[in-house]
Symmetry: C2
Subunit: 666 residues, 2 copies
């Protein structure tokens, strides 16, 4: 930029959020939205190739050019790709329903997860037990004798002597800021103080671990003793405020990860980090998200930020890297090495989090580039490492993770399933928010659909679990065959040929929010088949690697947001989950958040997390010939080998025939 | 301040420094000088009562009012107290010779101290021996195998595995910034890296102490392995650059502590800290001083700041508090409790020091408010804790410190001697810089003086050691009697009555830099007698407290800047040092700096420092009746009890008579 250039400021106002921001003339419209805290879906990270960030320019001018993602009609109406537009004048911008994120799903998530996550009794088989309530963070109130000429040891020595005598505290160290405030705090309430201590080290043995004094407050503040537990997901971030005196969560909140504006999946975000300032921007985005959740947790529980003494986070390897400001570059390049799988605690305040300066952030350890702290956290929460019971733990999603094992051993693998489970790569796919079709039935013999949407709104698209349910029902009703192709002979006008090949019309334009037909195409079905095949092949490769069959699994734990919404029977029908007795399946909701909470309550479990991360053997499926073999075999509904899905195969074979156009039955 | 006020900037130019600064109109002239890095002596800390900060306003206007510290003649000439003047217009200011600090003494200090401090052999009896060369800071070069698909552990795990295998390193932790730079550094020189490790903990046993990885550099940087050792004195700050590969200091530099501008002694500075922003200003002042020394050390040794990995400082309790940003308020209020006597390591960069972000600063532990880390450092350097030899360690100064003991026990006390030893409170006193009278003889029978100044310059005043030498000679020549009063009957015009009572003219106005007579007054002599009485009474109280006599002392170690310049025989003559065999006295120069260096070379000595601080018993002399008794007895030259100074008493009794005005002899 040359000296003397005058920068013109312009105003951009977003609807329906009703939020405005002042930016430099020439700024990116997508960046303006992010800066204003307005969500615009931008799956590809703002490079112009996905077409998800469409907005309508109601007033004012932008500089933009039409790509193939915009039809000439859309262009004429004033629709632009936000990521490809530069602001020229004051603007009024409307974000169409497809580009918006909504919050209905968030409350639904919380409702489902609350029982498990707030410490209510989950299924006895899938929660860690037997741990001592022994948080790494402690508060200790002491009354000290004031100094005299015969006892004029330093303030710090006086404090340490008191802590040893009155709290049996054998300390490891004192943070410099405690020493700085010590003279004032000691004298402000007549030498009555509350010390906050933290066990930082995890490498020494539990009984040899000495705490560090991280804070000091005047008087007795023992009753205000809180910490924060977080699950940092690629899509959503969820946090709980924990009362360490009561050993329970007293508030919970969730928000979309603001990194979504820079790309939908970890790969896009890692790529974004390589641009100038990219890592910093993504780090800021998740920090802002966490701060927003902290604000809400404090408001919900009438708690003050200064009373929070500790913070634990579980996230996948990429999310953890970015939050800590570590470049995740090599995670996406073979041979896929993360910078670290064990992370030293960091000062939360130094990352920009709105907590007191003495608060340490403990990240969960991870196993590999695509098996992260969220999985370790979930495995610890589920107590898999505590029992002999042979367990399969699955977190189904774009980056699906699988763990098999028990207290003796564990193997793990990440399956790159693609975005279909989250509605990505699907013609009318969307993430699971209001208006997404999540359930589906089909009436016989006329083959007309019955759709159910999240929040009961008019249909807007199809979410991942909806897609799974639709395909299972289409298969059961023989509208599609086991190779995922439409039976085009059927006597219905719902099946038709569209721009992507054959498709089935789920909702007519008149019934939808988008005023367009919502369809499911053969390409969509193929995408889901490939996604479920990757997950299932991952399970099979892992079971085979340890010499067991799926039938040997004594317990299958389904974790994660997507997992919470799937129907077991339908998931087995399409071949995503193994065809074993249904009572072996357990849902644990957000296992990652649960684990994050539990380690805040017990250093025993904090140790367990480290041990679990160390005992897990990671298999790189992307380079495994066995995996490719299993994958190809699974590209069928439910599977090429019918005997792997005996119950489903038997049921499908026994289904009623339906009529074709010619009056025949199939 | 009201909105809309326009602040006018004005320029102040200082002579003879030839340094200018732009300040707000209305700013304090003393502050302007400090900000410009120009030294003006301001012993009282800028509150207007000492009159040491006189400057001559050559051009321009200041707002000021005349106090009793300025004569009407001075006022007329344009002389003002800098601390009492506000800048109104552009100024040209001359700093008169009396208000200036000069640097000749600095080089003299270095010359004297070099032999001891740079690791040359000092007297065998007064240096710590038998320690292993085992610095807390280490560098470890390793070559790692690049990751492959079958060996794709995280970068951090790869580094740690390599360090364990190739350097037998069992680490305790890794600093977060190392993880942040890890992916880039590993790959920049083909997985060849140098790790810097630091043993942080001092509480665990030496063999169980695990280092933390604090830095990582590409390639082999093992040959660039440096640390810094500092002595932070109230008046001067001295630093050494240490080559940890060679185990020696390769550069040394000294500078006046810039806090001098805010007050000459620790009490004034503690008071200054209580004003708004006071602590921050003093902290900044010493940080700037240290940075200036670092710059000089780097320039001297052609070293780069990035290759410095560690920093150790020894300072008195107040200096340590202020440098670390801890309010020293309660040090000066009974019962004299410092905030801490053991200080956690802090990040040097966070204090504003110009070193790499990973550099830790290790402060020496102290014993009490007036027995600080400089004394612990000196005692460790002298190896007192290693031997059975009964030792007296003295650091003579405004805040004199005394230690008595050996490897089994140690007692210590601080003596508030007053500023006389540093030329303070003396009519023509000055600190030991160029032009200060440091030695003196008197010719008989005419009683004319022969003076020697530092740097051979024209006399400007009297420094502390000069004062001691003058008084010893005046006593030996019977010009003063044992109660410190002038023999006014003597046949000389050098003794006369002045404004402060009787005085002796050392230099006539024509021979001096100040164009005024330089005299020593009875008040001055009385001040020195009180100072030496405090030190000696401290020794006697301590020896008595442990049931020994001075004659039992097997060794007397004299440390510190003032101590380095005194004459043993003359010091015994006036009763400052005990009258025991002269060969038991040893000078160690800047023992504090030596200790600071030695602990950078050996964690054994670092441990010793902690042990010494813990084993020392502190006696509060200010409240001791025994001390008062010894003090009163010592208010005589050399002492009220002649038998305590048998050799001196004998010598004084045998001296030749001199003539009085009446022709008689005394």
């Amino acid at each position: 930029m040359n000296k003397g250039t005058t920068y013109k400021k312009v105003k951009v106002h977003f609807q329906p959020d009703n939020v405005g921001i002042v930016v430099e003339r020439g700024a990116s419209l997508l960046q303006a939205a992010i800066d204003a805290g307005v969500h615009i879906t931008a799956s590809c990270g703002g490079v112009g190739v996905c077409g998800t960030c469409k907005v309508l320019i109601e007033k004012g001018d932008v500089e933009s050019s039409r790509s193939e993602k915009l039809s000439p009609e859309e262009w004429k109406q004033g629709i632009r790709q936000a990521c490809q537009s530069r602001v020229l004048t004051d603007l009024l911008v409307s974000i169409p329903v497809e580009s918006r994120l909504e919050t209905v799903v968030v409350s639904r998530e919380i409702e489902r997860a609350t029982k498990m996550a707030t410490g209510g009794a989950g299924p006895a088989e899938a929660i860690a037990t037997g741990w001592r309530f022994k948080p790494p963070l402690n508060k200790c109130y002491i009354e000290l004798p004031p100094p005299t000429l015969v006892d004029n040891i330093s303030d710090l020595s006086r404090l340490l002597r008191g802590l040893k005598k009155q709290c049996s505290l054998n300390y490891a160290g004192v943070d410099p800021d405690v020493v700085r405030k010590l003279p004032r705090v000691l004298r402000s309430k007549k030498y009555r103080v509350t010390a906050t201590t933290l066990v930082k080290a995890v490498k020494t043995k539990a009984d040899k671990r000495k705490p560090t004094i991280i804070n000091l407050e005047p008087g007795n503040t023992g009753q205000k003793h809180f910490s924060l537990a977080f699950d940092i997901g690629t899509t959503t971030v969820c946090g709980q405020l924990l009362d360490l005196n009561r050993g329970k969560a007293i508030a919970e909140a969730m928000a979309y990860n603001r990194q979504i504006g820079y790309g939908a999946d970890v790969i896009t975000r890692i790529a974004f980090c390589q641009g100038p300032g990219g890592l910093k921007k993504l780090q800021q985005a998740v920090v802002v998200t966490i701060n927003q959740i902290i604000d809400e947790l404090l408001a919900q529980s009438q708690t003050e930020a200064k009373d929070i003494g500790h913070l634990t986070i579980a996230g996948n390897t990429t999310m953890t890297h970015i939050l800590l400001g570590i470049n995740p570059k090599y995670i996406r390049l073979a041979p896929y090495t993360p910078a670290a799988s064990f992370f030293p605690p960091v000062m939360a305040h130094s990352l920009g989090l709105n907590v007191a300066k003495h608060v340490h952030l403990f990240p969960f350890p991870s196993v590999a580039s695509y098996v992260g702290g969220d999985i370790i956290s979930g495995v610890v929460a589920a107590g898999i490492h505590q029992r002999k019971k042979l367990t399969l733990y699955m977190d189904i999603g774009t980056n699906g993770e699988i763990v098999i094992g028990n207290s003796d051993w564990m193997v793990t693998a990440a399956c790159s399933a693609g975005p279909a489970f989250e509605g990505g790569g699907i013609k009318h796919g969307m993430i699971a928010t209001a208006g997404a079709i999540e359930d589906f039935d089909i009436s016989l013999p006329d083959l007309n659909p019955e759709v159910h949407t999240i929040g009961g709104a008019k249909p807007k698209g199809i979410c991942g679990s909806g897609l799974l349910n639709i395909i299972a029902r289409l298969l059961e009703s023989k509208v599609i065959s086991q190779n995922g192709k439409f039976n085009t002979d059927l006597a219905t006008n719902r099946i038709r040929k569209g721009s992507d090949g054959y498709e089935y019309v789920l909702s007519r334009a008149g019934e939808t929010q988008t005023d367009k037909d919502i369809v499911i195409t053969e390409v969509d079905i193929d995408n889901l088949i490939r996604a479920k095949a990757a997950m299932y092949a991952g399970c099979r490769t892992l079971t085979e690697s340890v010499g067991i069959a799926c039938a040997d699994l004594e317990q299958v734990i389904i974790a994660g947001a997507f997992g919470s919404h799937i129907d077991i029977e339908k998931s087995i029908t399409i071949g995503l989950l193994p065809d074993i007795p249904r009572d072996r399946f357990i849902f644990v909701g957000n296992g990652s958040l649960t684990g994050s909470r539990l380690v805040s309550f017990s250093i025993d479990l904090l140790d367990d997390a480290r041990k679990v991360a160390m005992m897990m053997t990671n298999l790189e499926l992307s380079e495994s010939p066995d995996f490719m073999h299993h994958y190809v075999a699974a590209l069928f509904l439910p599977h090429t080998h019918a005997d792997e899905f005996p119950n489903v195969s038997k049921r499908l074979a026994g289904l009623a025939d339906i009529k074709t156009k010619g009056g025949l039955t199939v």
